[in-house]
């Protein structure tokens, strides 16, 4: 009786601390909004764009974690390598440039998406085949350590091919505005991220919820052994998951490249941010990954952009990892996740 009471009280104290932290953040945002409304909305749009990119990388982490309970450290580096290869495809193969016609831009981008997503789906699945599959029955830390090793190998492949310089593509997507109200504006180049990502998310959610293979994935994620007994080919399902994750990493690489410069080590930091997003949303939960990524995207943009009491970009990494640690300590199951044994 007294034990249960104590548990209740301690839980509510933790909740109280957590809620008051969230409350403080909301107050901070509200004050900033009142001070500079136009800036605030522009910054929020940047956050939306970045959050979308984080989200599509986070989905790759969460898909693999859901099935194998493996943090695939190499995912971020696969993403970076895909972006670098995409820069070669766009610049050297297609020769997309600033004056390109709309038709050429659309066809060229579609071509790049198909090639990169297909190629990196296969690349990611071969990584699984070579490095993770032999460790299925090993202690749980073994594949995790291997994933770190693979991450460094992929990173060094990128280093060997592309060197230490940042790669970039010409601004072939016009920077003209889609909408512009007063000093609030949203350019086509930012909108292109949403134009690419939203159909991908729709296809992914259709695949996972409505196809037979998607059903198999959900079954394996829920209980590997039971699904094996029901006749699901678990190894094939895992391969399909890695194919999907690789394709998402490829798409993420392309849209990241359209916004920013990238080089061989871009994937490490972005991978950690995306992983944080996946944990924030509740790892293994697809919607959660996207929600978590949007939150992180907004936090990052507000932290770096707002004028009133924002710590600034020097502290972004600390903020992101601070959130990660707070989430794991206070609510390990994430915002949308279910209770996991890891938390208790």
């Amino acid at each position: 009786m007294s034990n249960a009471l104590g548990k209740l009280r301690s839980a509510s104290v933790t909740d109280l601390i957590g809620l008051s932290l969230v409350g403080l953040v909301l107050v901070w945002l509200a004050i900033n909004f009142v001070k500079e409304p136009a800036d605030f909305i522009n910054i929020a749009l940047i956050g939306l764009t970045n959050g979308t990119i984080f989200g599509i990388v986070a989905l790759g982490y969460t898909l693999v974690y859901g099935i194998l309970q493996l943090i695939n450290f190499a995912h971020g580096d696969v993403f970076a390598l895909s972006g670098l290869v995409a820069s070669t495809v766009i610049v050297s193969v297609l020769g997309l440039d600033e004056g390109a016609s709309v038709m050429f831009i659309i066809v060229g981008l579609a071509f790049t998406l198909v090639v990169i997503m297909g190629g990196f789906a296969l690349f990611n699945a071969s990584i699984e085949r070579v490095a993770y599959k032999p460790l299925r029955s090993a202690p749980r830390l073994a594949p995790l350590i291997t994933a770190i090793g693979v991450s460094f190998i992929v990173q060094n492949i990128a280093l060997a091919i592309y060197g230490v310089n940042y790669q970039t593509v010409p601004n072939f997507i016009p920077r003209t505005d889609v909408i512009s109200i007063g000093s609030i504006s949203y350019s086509w180049s930012k909108a292109s991220v949403l134009i690419i990502v939203i159909p991908l998310l729709l296809v992914l959610s259709w695949f996972v919820s409505s196809t037979k293979q998607g059903k198999a994935m959900r079954a394996v994620a829920q209980d590997t052994e039971a699904s094996a007994m029901m006749g699901i080919d678990v190894n094939r399902t895992i391969s399909v998951t890695f194919l999907l994750a690789g394709a998402l990493a490829g798409a993420a690489g392309i849209i990241y490249l359209l916004q920013f410069n990238m080089r061989y080590d871009t994937g490490f930091e972005l991978g950690l941010i995306a992983f944080t997003a996946a944990v924030l949303g509740g790892i293994g939960n697809l919607t959660g990954a996207v929600v978590g990524a949007l939150i992180i995207g907004f936090i990052q943009a507000f932290n770096e952009g707002l004028g009133w009491f924002a710590p600034g970009s020097d502290w972004t990494r600390t903020m992101v990892f601070g959130i990660l640690i707070l989430i794991l300590v206070f609510r390990p199951e994430g915002i949308l996740g279910e209770q996991t044994p890891e938390g208790a």
Binding site: Q69, L70, I71, A131, P134, L135, R136, S137, A138, P139, R140, L141, A142, P143, L144, I145, T146, I148, G149, V150, S151, F152, I153, Q155, N156, I157, L159, A160, T224, E225, A228, M229, V234, N235, F268, L272, F275, V279, D314, W315, R317, T318, F321, G322, L324, I325, L328, V329, P332, P341, E342, G343, A344
Partner: protein, 411 residues
Amino acid sequence: MTALGTRARSAAGNRNTVVVASLIVLAVLYPTIVDSLQSLPLIGDFVPSTDSMVVMVVFSTMAIGLNMVVGYAGLLDLGYVAFYAVGAYTAGWFASQQFDQWSFQFGAVGIADGLPGIHISMWFVLLVAGLLTMFAGIVIGLPTLRLLGDYLAIVTLGFGEIVPQFVRNADNLGGFDLTHGTFGISPIDSLGFGAIGAAIGLPESFRQSSQRAEWYFWIAVLILLITIFCSVRLRDSRLGRAWIAIREDETAAAAMGIPLMRTKTWAYALGAFFGGVAGAFYASFKGGAFPADFYFNISVFLLCMVILGGIGSVWGVLLGGMILGYLNVEGLATIGSKIQQSGIPKLDGFDPTKYQFGIYGIIIVLMMLFRPTGLIPERRHKIEMVEGVHDTPFYDVQHEGTLTDRDPSDD
């Protein structure tokens, strides 16, 4: 039977003692024979200098500290570099001119009287650094150690990323300069025997003596030996056996009455202690603490030493640490220049130091796939890896099989 067993064990013990003693003698004599070793034909170029040996020994010490956390207790720590940083910066705070608004000297060597800043004897600072780092380990550990496996790995990784960024940014905390930002803290005082030592012919301050590298090397070996001794004794202690029990099966260990949190926190704190001492020592050797030294790759580098040598095996980790430490400070560069001299046109311009982390990555993957127990496996850990601590997954059965006819040797 028992007598025979005891005799066999004591014979093995004697052999171990002989091996250890000869290794110690070799290590102590190393600075005196390094010149003649380096003049040998063929292999001479590959012999590390005493300076490089100091770095190798320091990193091996850290790897043995990390081994307590990862190897004994099975807690994957991806942020060990944070402890190294805390140790190095403690040395910076207590033995340099960082806080020149105060002036305090206690037993410091090799500096002018009245030099501003806090200057406490480096010997004392080593201990303080260990204790402070231990405290940092407990502070980090208490909220996070209740997480399992890979969640813990991620949180420690998070701390490993936060600490360097904090250090880089903490040059203006409300106007107070704690870490001197990206410039780092330099110079940090030298170790030395002071006036008392000078009276009996020992160097007053290593940095100002003609045998700087030699003395740092001997002290590094001493610290390494103490670390190894503590590590071995801890492993065989009640606490160490509790760690291994937790590593093998946390639930069973808890059911046997092992207090999980306290035991894990001790692993974390003691692992941190040695990381802190090594970090402070290294800061004194280099003469500074710089934020660029503390990044994720160092954590992985140390982890790689542990994996290469053998998770949980002290001698294995020492071997792994010396091998990778050598490759890091000298080996890869030497191999690179040999490749350049060989004149093979295809390899022209190939610089292995550029790809060192790719090489470590390959080592990690190959070891995990083909020899997960490391170069010198620890006995218990080998059993664990071979038999597995988990049930065999159904879907992985190579041959048709069910639960009932499953044999561990098929796994």
